[in-house]
């Protein structure tokens, strides 16, 4: 199955016959079956499906924080299933930007320090890191909150800091797991607007897991999962 609407653009994510299961209570529980999918560069994909359908598992595999049992998973032409753990960590640092449902900011670091965090793994100088982090915070409209700690920010503002952290290292793909799941409608709208801007103006490839039909409207394409398999979109929806 191809999610490619961006005709002509090479796929940034190429998945072939991917399978994944977990062992729970002494039993093997299959989660994903024979998933094949291509996501072109610059796309904005919404992964939808009921709870337990495997969408977060698929996102985790694409982001390189989990390993499949079988199949191929190429991101930017690199088969990340073959990378050893240490190389996979380096790969994530330079290719993946993460946005989590509960923001996952470090509470002891202020907004600037949280955004600067991924840059500590690069060879950038202190000055360059500062410039980049300030730019990322300006992008999400939080230049005036750089020295605020997470507990001094609203949920929406914390998620904007998380988005700044996700883009600051200029990753190949941005993965967002329920980015609006913990936000009110207004804040959710702002976050989705930001993601759209990142996709449309900066050409960032975004893969987002969501239950929220409003969020789906921001995406260019929707991929549905049910019981670990890709299915066609339900009638009446994108």
């Amino acid at each position: 199955m191809s999610a490619a609407a961006g005709a002509g653009k090479p796929p940034i994510v190429r998945i072939a016959h991917l399978a994944k299961g977990y062992r729970r209570g002494g039993q093997d529980v299959p989660v994903l079956f024979d998933i094949s999918l291509e996501i072109p560069e610059g796309d904005f994909i919404a992964l939808m499906g009921p709870s337990g359908s495997g969408k977060s598992t698929l996102l985790n595999l694409i982001a390189g924080i989990d390993k499949p049992d079988a199949g191929e998973l190429l991101v930017g032409g690199e088969d990340i299933t073959k990378l050893p753990e240490s190389e996979l960590a380096d790969w994530r640092a330079s290719h993946v930007g993460f946005i989590f449902q509960f923001y996952n900011l470090l509470p002891v670091l202020d907004a600037f320090e949280n955004v600067e965090l991924p840059l500590l793994l690069t060879s950038l100088s202190r000055r360059e890191r500062r410039a980049r982090a300030e730019m990322a915070l300006a992008l999400v409209g939080l230049s005036d909150r750089m020295e605020h700690y997470p507990n001094e920010l609203s949920g929406g503002q914390q998620q904007r800091v998380a988005i700044a952290r996700a883009v600051v290292a200029d990753p190949t793909i941005i993965v967002a797991d329920e980015p609006t799941g913990d936000l009110d409608r207004k804040s959710a709208g702002e976050i989705l607007g930001l993601l759209r801007r990142l996709n449309e103006e900066m050409g960032k490839t975004i893969i987002m897991v969501t239950h929220d039909w409003h969020a789906v409207e921001s995406a260019r394409h929707v991929v549905h999962l049910e019981k670990g398999e890709l299915v066609d979109a339900p009638a009446g929806h994108p």
């Binding site: 924080i65 989990d66 994530r92 640092a93 002891v108 965090l117 991924p118």
Partner: protein
């Protein structure tokens, strides 16, 4: 730099928990240092012993004396350069409180201080001491604690040798260094002997021990055997040993207590290890999602593990430093409270090093298990964890 910043900021996230752990560490390191100092104080006498001095005593028991004429025969043994005498007096000054307790010895006034170069004396005072039959040489520490001065008369109530004895302070000896004990009073054995002759003639012409100076410390065993051989099959056989062995034989009588003190000092460290390990385990468990986030962002398991070990180390080193700093005033107070019970009671460099080492080892070990767990946790499991 960022690593240290993160470690330092993490320490005080739970202020009450961290402060309680720190307080526990301060008390534990302080208690450990104090107990180690008590053990060291116990051995202080043997520490100042010279390798070139032997002690000859009655082989049956120290409570039995030796005839004073043995001195001349010991002097003839090859390797012996000088012989002096010493006799425990065991008198009471004022009362039996620890503050007024000090040791008195009747010694050969002619050469005793020649055998103890660690007692720094004034030649004029030594001369005055030798000339006065009731004269006494008193240690600096003892003089300072009682406010005595040269010329003062010290009345002492005899216990082994009944009666009230008066000694005139003729000189004050100074310590060579901090390990030298200067809480004794030395007076003429001749004075003791002539009084005994009057009232207990059968106990006269006897001494407690002979202090034997030898030319070569490495021949101590050989010379000791030669001295003992000289008196074999006599009515009072001798047992000769190095001064250190002689001092340690006293400590051996209380070895069990010293061992108990030593064991308790290390038990304190084991207990504080359990406290810090528990603190670090709780801390690491609560932050599992954060560690997973760091790993997702590309930080390696080593960095995550180092964060926990670093935090554990920083807490224990901070607590250790405060505990070490507190040891000195507390030890000074303890010494003051104990009077002359411990003539030398000082916190040694070895004790401070041990305290620091214990703090570091506790920090390292307490952080190890939670750091391994955090480093090994799968990112997807960690992200799901709600601390």
């Amino acid at each position: 730099m960022h690593y240290l910043k993160l470690v330092f900021k993490n320490i005080f996230r739970h202020k009450l928990r961290s402060l309680l752990t720190l307080a526990g560490l301060v008390v534990a390191i302080l208690a450990f240092g104090l107990l180690q100092t008590v053990v060291n104080a116990w051995y202080a006498g043997s520490d100042m012993a010279s390798a070139q001095r032997l002690i000859s005593r009655n082989a049956t028991s120290l409570v039995f004396p030796l005839p004073v004429y043995y001195r001349e025969r010991i002097r003839t043994v090859e390797g012996v350069t000088a012989v002096s005498t010493s006799n425990w007096f065991g008198g009471i000054y004022k009362d039996m409180t620890p503050a007024n307790f000090f040791a008195q010895f009747a010694v050969d006034h002619e050469n005793f201080f020649d055998l103890y170069p660690e007692f720094r004396t004034n030649p004029e005072e030594i001369l005055a001491f030798k000339k006065d039959r009731r004269g006494a040489m008193v240690g600096r520490s003892l003089v300072d604690s009682h406010g005595w001065k040269v010329g003062d008369v010290i009345p002492v109530q005899g216990t082994i040798y009944p009666g009230t004895w008066e000694f005139v302070v003729r000189g004050i000896y100074e310590p060579k260094d901090e390990s030298t004990i200067t809480r004794q009073l030395y007076f003429h054995w001749d004075y003791l002997n002539e009084q005994i002759k009057k009232f207990y003639p059968r106990r006269s012409e006897q001494v407690g021990v002979f202090v034997v100076q030898i030319a070569d410390g490495s021949r101590a065993a050989e010379v000791s055997q030669a001295i003992d051989k000289e008196f074999r099959n006599s009515l009072a056989e001798t047992l000769t040993e190095t001064e250190k062995a002689f001092q340690l034989s006293f400590i051996a009588q209380t070895e069990t207590i010293v061992m108990a003190v030593r064991v308790v000092s290390f038990l304190v460290i084991v207990i504080i290890f359990a406290v810090v390990a528990n603190t670090m385990a709780m801390t690491a468990r609560e932050r599992l999602a954060e560690y997973a986030t760091l790993k997702a962002l590309g930080f390696g398991p080593g960095f995550v593990g180092a964060l926990i070990v670093g935090e554990s180390l920083m807490i224990t080193l901070l607590g250790g430093a405060l505990g070490i700093a507190a040891t000195f005033p507390v030890a000074a107070g303890f010494k003051a409270a104990m009077g002359s019970f411990f003539p030398v009671f000082r916190v040694s460099a070895e004790t401070v090093a041990l305290q620091a080492a214990c703090a570091a080892v506790v920090g390292l070990l307490a952080g190890l298990a939670p750091s391994i767990r955090a480093a090994r946790v799968r990112i997807v499991d960690g992200l799901r964890y709600i601390g």
